[in-house]
Symmetry: C2
Subunit: 555 residues, 2 copies
Amino acid sequence: MPGARLFLTGFSGAGKSAVGRRAAALLGWEFADTDEAIVKADGRPIPRIFAEEDEAGFRRRERDALRGILDRERVVVSTGGGLPLDAENRRLMEGAGLVVALDARPETIAARLAGAQGGARAESMARPMLRPEQGESALERIAALKRERQWAYALAAWTIQTDALSIEQAAHEAARAWRRLGAAALHGGDSHVAAIVVGGEAAYPIVVGWDILEAQTGQRFVEAGLRGRAFLVCDQNVLHPYGRLVQRSLTAAGVEAHLFTFPPGEASKSLTMAGRVYEWLAEMRAERRDATVAVGGGVAGDLAGFAAATYLRGMPVVHAPTTLTAMVDSSIGGKTAVDLDAGKNLVGAFHQPVLVLADVSALTTLPPRELREGWAEALKHGVALDAGLVEVYESQADALLALEPELTTEVVARNAAVKARVVTQDERETGGARTLLNYGHTIGHALEAASGYGRYLHGEAVAIGMTGAARIGAAHGVTPGEAVERQQALLERFGLPSAYDVVDSAAILDAMTRDKKVSAGAVSWVLLDGVGSASIHRNVDAETVREVVEGLRAG
Amino acid sequence: MPGARLFLTGFSGAGKSAVGRRAAALLGWEFADTDEAIVKADGRPIPRIFAEEDEAGFRRRERDALRGILDRERVVVSTGGGLPLDAENRRLMEGAGLVVALDARPETIAARLAGAQGGARAESMARPMLRPEQGESALERIAALKRERQWAYALAAWTIQTDALSIEQAAHEAARAWRRLGAAALHGGDSHVAAIVVGGEAAYPIVVGWDILEAQTGQRFVEAGLRGRAFLVCDQNVLHPYGRLVQRSLTAAGVEAHLFTFPPGEASKSLTMAGRVYEWLAEMRAERRDATVAVGGGVAGDLAGFAAATYLRGMPVVHAPTTLTAMVDSSIGGKTAVDLDAGKNLVGAFHQPVLVLADVSALTTLPPRELREGWAEALKHGVALDAGLVEVYESQADALLALEPELTTEVVARNAAVKARVVTQDERETGGARTLLNYGHTIGHALEAASGYGRYLHGEAVAIGMTGAARIGAAHGVTPGEAVERQQALLERFGLPSAYDVVDSAAILDAMTRDKKVSAGAVSWVLLDGVGSASIHRNVDAETVREVVEGLRAG
C-alpha cells in the first residue's frame, strides 16, 4: 500500500536535493537522499565507489539505500539520477508513494552544474557518469545521457519543469503534486472514505459512516495533518448532542476545542454573524494553523467555511454535516457564502475543506421537514447524473424514509461520490460539469428570493424548480415524458412539493434575472435529456419559462 | 517575439486534441490542429499521405501546416506526435508562444488508443507510425516509439502528466501553464512593464510610468483579457482627478465604467464598508466577468480587492495605485483585507490582481505627510533586500524628494520589481521570502494598534518599527552598527520619525503578541544582517525587545 512518501526523480542538476528539502519543510516531513544514504552506509564517496567497482556495484548499493529509506513515512526522497532506470527501483517507489520527476533543459542543467562546481552538495558526488568523453562538450554529454534516460523520468506520476522556476516555486509544485495526487492514494484501504475530492491545490476525503462522530472526529482531524486548535461553529439546536460530541472527540485526541454557537436559521448566514465569528476568533487569538470546524447544516458550513476562508486570509476548515443536504451537497466542493439583502450567497469564497466527516446517524434526530428537504438534492443527483441511484430511490424508498442505517449510509456515500466526482472535474464552476448540479436551482433560487427566505426550505424550492425544469425540458422536446413522470413520482414519494403558493410568478421571473450564474445577461438552463443525464441549454424560450413558472403555482 | 499561442506536444493518445479544445475554451481562444491543417491543405487523409509518400514528405507538410497556423494569435495548437522531433519546428514554436507537453504512460496511451479505435477524431489519422511490427504487441510498439521520442517532448517549457487527470483537469493545467509561464513573455518588449508577478495560478504585469493613467488604463484593461464592465472604487479625495481619469480612459476603450466612492481614511477599511460595496455591486448586477478597479491608496486597494475576492466568490481586480505606499507595496502581491476592532487586516483574502497600473505622476498631488510615509516601505525594500537601492536613496535624495519624473519613475519601478520578486517566490507567505517584507512591521503594527489607528500613518509606524528592529538586531549582534546608522540617516533624510510619543510602551508590547504573524505563540523577528540583507530570527530576547520598545519613546 502506498504511504506518505514523495520520491523526486530526474537528471543531476534538476534540483532534486534543494527542491526536496524545501518541499519536505512545506509538508512538515523529513527529507532523505539516496546518494547521501549510500555514502553513509558505504563510507566511501560516490566517485570512489564508481572508480573502485563498476556501475552495477553502485546500482546495487543504490537499491539497498532506497529500500532502507522505505522504512520511513512522511518523507521526501531525492533519488540519484540513474535510479529510476531500474525497473525494480521504479516498482519499489510506485508501491511506496508518489513519484514526481523534476526536469530541465540540457542548457539549464549545464549552467546549474557549472555554477555548483566545487560545491559540497550531495548531488555533486553522483556525477561520474557526466564526465565528457573525448571531443564532447559538457553540454553534449548532458544532452546525450539525458536523452538516453528520459523515458524513465517520463514514467513518473507527475513532472515539474524547473527551468523557469525558483527552488521555492518548484517546491510548491512538488508539494501540490503530493497534496493532489499522492494524498488521495492514502485513503484507498479506508472503508469509511466514500470519495476523494481532487482540487487544484489539494485532495480531501469524504468520510461517511453511522455513529462515527465521537469515535472518529479527533483522530481524523489529526490524521488530516492539522496540528493546531479547533474552533467549532454550530447552531444552538445542534450543540446538543453533536457540537458536544465533536468537541469531546477532539479533546480525547488531544486537540484543544472551543465552541461558538449561533441562532438556528438562514438569517445567521449574514455578514453580521460572520463578523461575530471573526470577533470570537480574534478574542481566542486563532492562528493560521488552527482550524474551524462546522458542525450542522448548510448554514453552519457556509458560515464557518466563509469565516475560515477569510480570517487571517485563510485557515483550514473541517465539515461535520448533520443534515442530509449538507452531507450530500453543501459540505462537499468548497463553496462558502453569506447572504445579502439583495440575494442569497452573493458574498463568499471557494475554500475547500481539509476533511468532511458525515455521520449519517445524525439524520435520526432531524425534524421531519428538514429531513424531507434534504432528499431534494439527493434526488437531483440521481435524476441529473446517476440513473442507478434513481433505481435505488424507486426500489428502496421505504427503507430510506425509515433511515435504515446500512442502506442510508450507502446512499449518502454514493451521493457524496457523485458530488465529489463533479467537483473534481470542475472545481470552480468554470466548465460545464459543475453547472449540471444547478439542475432545479434556477427556478428554485428565484422562488426562495421572491418568497422571502424561510417560506420555502432550500430543498423544497429546488424540488419545485426540478418540476419546472422538467416541464421546460419537455416543452422544448429535450426531456422525455418518462423522465418527467419518474421524477414527479420520486418527489411525491419523498414528500417534496412540486408547486408553490402565496408568491407571485412575476416576482419569481424577476428574481431569476438576478441569479449570480447569469452570464452576460443570458440564463443557462440545465435540462434533463433523460433519467440520470442532464445538459446545459442557452436558447430556452422566455415565453415557455413564463408559462411554466405560472403553471407551477398551486391552485 | 512570442505571442499568445499555446502549443501542445506529446505522443498520440496523450490527449492533445481534446485537452487543447477545452483549454482554448477556458482561455477564450481559438483551437487549431496541425494534423487537421495538413488534411485540409492536402486533401488526402494522413494514412494515404504516409502510404503514397515517405515520412519526410509528411514532415514537410507538417512544417508548412505549423507555419500557416503561426499567422494566428490567441490560439491553442495541438501538434502531431512527431512534430517536435524536428529542430526547426521546435524553434518555430518556441519563438511564437509557449510549448507544453502532455504526457502519459504507455499503458494509459494503449488503453486510450484502443478505446478510440474507429473514432473519427483527427488524431487517429496520424497513427501510421504506431502499427506494430511483427511479433510486437501494441503496447510494446507504443513504449518503444515513445522511448525514442521522449527527449523531444522533454524540451517543452512545461509538462502535464495526464494519466490521473480528466480532460477538464488537464485543460485547467494547460491554461494554468499559459497564465503563469506564457503570459509573462508577452510583456517582454513593453518598457512600461516594471515587473511580472508569477503566482501559482497566473502572472500579471506591474506597469509603471509617468502620466499614464488616462492614456493607458482602458487599453491595458482590454489587453489583460477583461471583457466585462469596470466597477471603480475610490475615496472622495481621489475621485478628482484620478477616479474620473480612469473612468474616462476605460470609457474611451469601450468599457462601461461605474464609480463607487467612500470617505477617505482607514475607517473605511471595514466590514461595514465592504458590505456597502457588495450592495452596490448587487444593485448594478455585477457578474463574475466584470472587474473591480481600485483607484487610490492602500485603503481603496484593500477594500476593492477584498470585495473582488469575495463578491460572487471572486471576480477580477485591477489596481491603479495613486500613493507611494500603494505603488511600491500594497498593490502588488494580492493581499487584501479589512480591519476589525480587534486588529488591523484580520479579515481578508489572497487575491492577485490581473493588472497593476501605477501612474507615478499622481504623487505630485499627494499631501506632504502621505508622500513622506510612502518612503518608509520604499526605504524598507532597500535596507532589507536591495543594497543598490539604498545607494540610490543616499545619492539622489533631493531629486527623489522633489519627485523628479524620470528618476522617481525608475525608483518606483525598481521597488515594484523588488516586491514582485519576493511575491513570486512566496505567494502565500508560507516560506521565508515574503516574511522578510515584514521588516519593521512587528513593532510598527503594534504601535498602530496601541495608539489607535490614525495617530500614526502606517509608514510612520513602520519607520519607527525599523528603528526598533535595527536596535534589536544590534543588541543581538546581528545588525552591524553601519547598517543601523545608514538606515537612521535615510529615515531622517526622508522626513520619517524614529520615535513615538503619547502611547504607552506596555500597550505596544501587548499588541505585539496579537499580531497575526504570530506562529504558535512565538514572534518571528526580521532583522538586518547588513544593508540590503535581512533574515528571520526566532530566539529574540523578550527583555531586549521591552527595552528597545521603551527606548523608542520620544523624550
